[in-house]
């Protein structure tokens, strides 16, 4: 059993399990799944600030900050007890495309030549780690949600706001991968 769990899980196991978080959070505590809002909570907790966007009772939202603490813990537990040593088996077309762009390290979850402390101050590191992180924080809050709030929960509720946001997510991702990647990586 534990050996099966250690393998990477197929989409038809992981996807439905992720979907179950929508009713689980609603029925247990009447909460809608929401992860990027913890960025806002963090700013509200940490910075004593005059900005209206961060003036609210963030303690009411303690649950989602405990949830993401759990996500972090889950990541650690997987590394300690459930990890297999295999690399991510990506499609040969993707492998070929990424090699053409100069990516050579395919072990682990992300290419080590970009996502490492030593790569942080190169052009790639600045774009992929620093600007990338900034855009994730800025964009999710401007859009009023991320993959959990808009794509999973919002689409489950057939929310028009979420359909538009998800179209935006994909437009941005396609723009990035097909237009900006060749410029930055070559």
């Amino acid at each position: 059993m534990i050996e099966i769990v250690k393998e990477s899980w197929p989409w038809y196991i992981a996807g439905p399990l992720i979907g179950l978080f929508v009713p689980a959070l609603l029925l247990f505590d009447n909460k809608q799944f929401s992860i990027s809002s913890t960025f806002r909570d963090f700013c509200a907790y940490v910075v004593p600030n005059p900005v209206e966007y961060f003036r609210y009772n963030s303690k009411e939202h303690l649950w989602r900050n405990i949830f993401v603490l759990g996500v972090l813990t889950g990541g650690a537990l997987s590394a300690l007890f459930l990890s297999n040593t295999n690399n991510v088996e990506i499609s040969s077309n993707t492998l070929h495309d990424l090699k053409t762009l100069g990516i050579s390290n395919f072990s682990g979850m992300a290419p080590a030549e970009i996502f490492s402390w030593s790569g942080l101050f190169s052009l790639k590191g600045v774009v992929f780690i620093i600007i990338g992180g900034f855009l994730v924080g800025f964009g999710t809050r401007y859009a009023d949600g991320c993959t959990s709030g808009h794509a999973i929960t919002g689409l489950s509720l057939l929310a028009p706001s979420s359909f538009i946001a998800v179209i935006g997510f994909f437009a941005g991702g396609l723009l990035s991968v097909h237009l900006l990647f060749p410029l930055i990586l070559n």
Partner: protein
């Protein structure tokens, strides 16, 4: 007690994200290059199960464990903000290979440089907070 359950939910979610490789930069590349069904399968079947649950909750008027009406109010429609914010997030999602949940999961998983991704995500959110009134919504 309530928070312990949220912690356990979070732990399970983190394990699923890692084990399904949803946190992998390589998987996000496959998705935006339309070269694998994996991510579409994960997101599609998650939405299918989520939507089915919402239909069941509505149809049978199911209440929360404490007996309240379930909050099924969607996020408000702000076409400009939903789209432009989404677009900016999409750019960042492709660069980092991680949406917010996976950022936390990857840090736990040992990819410590994602702490920098998280710090800049906080800064991004903070900048949005400052600029919000001047941005079209």
């Amino acid at each position: 007690m309530k928070y312990l359950v949220h912690l356990i939910f979070g732990i399970l979610f983190g394990i699923i994200l890692i084990k399904a490789e949803v946190v992998s930069w390589f998987r996000i590349q496959e998705m935006f290059r339309f070269q694998s069904f994996h991510m579409y399968g994960v997101i599609g079947s998650a939405v299918f199960v989520g939507a089915l649950s919402v239909i069941i909750i509505r149809k049978f008027n199911i209440k929360t464990f404490s007996g309240d009406a379930v909050n099924l109010t969607p996020k408000p429609l702000k076409v400009y903000a939903n789209f432009s914010g989404g677009l900016l997030f999409g750019l960042g999602w492709a660069f980092t290979g991680a949406c917010p949940g996976p950022i936390y999961a990857l840090i736990g998983n040992g990819l410590s440089v994602f702490i920098i991704v998280l710090v800049f995500a906080y800064l991004g959110t903070y900048s949005y907070g400052i600029l919000r009134k001047r941005l079209p919504h």
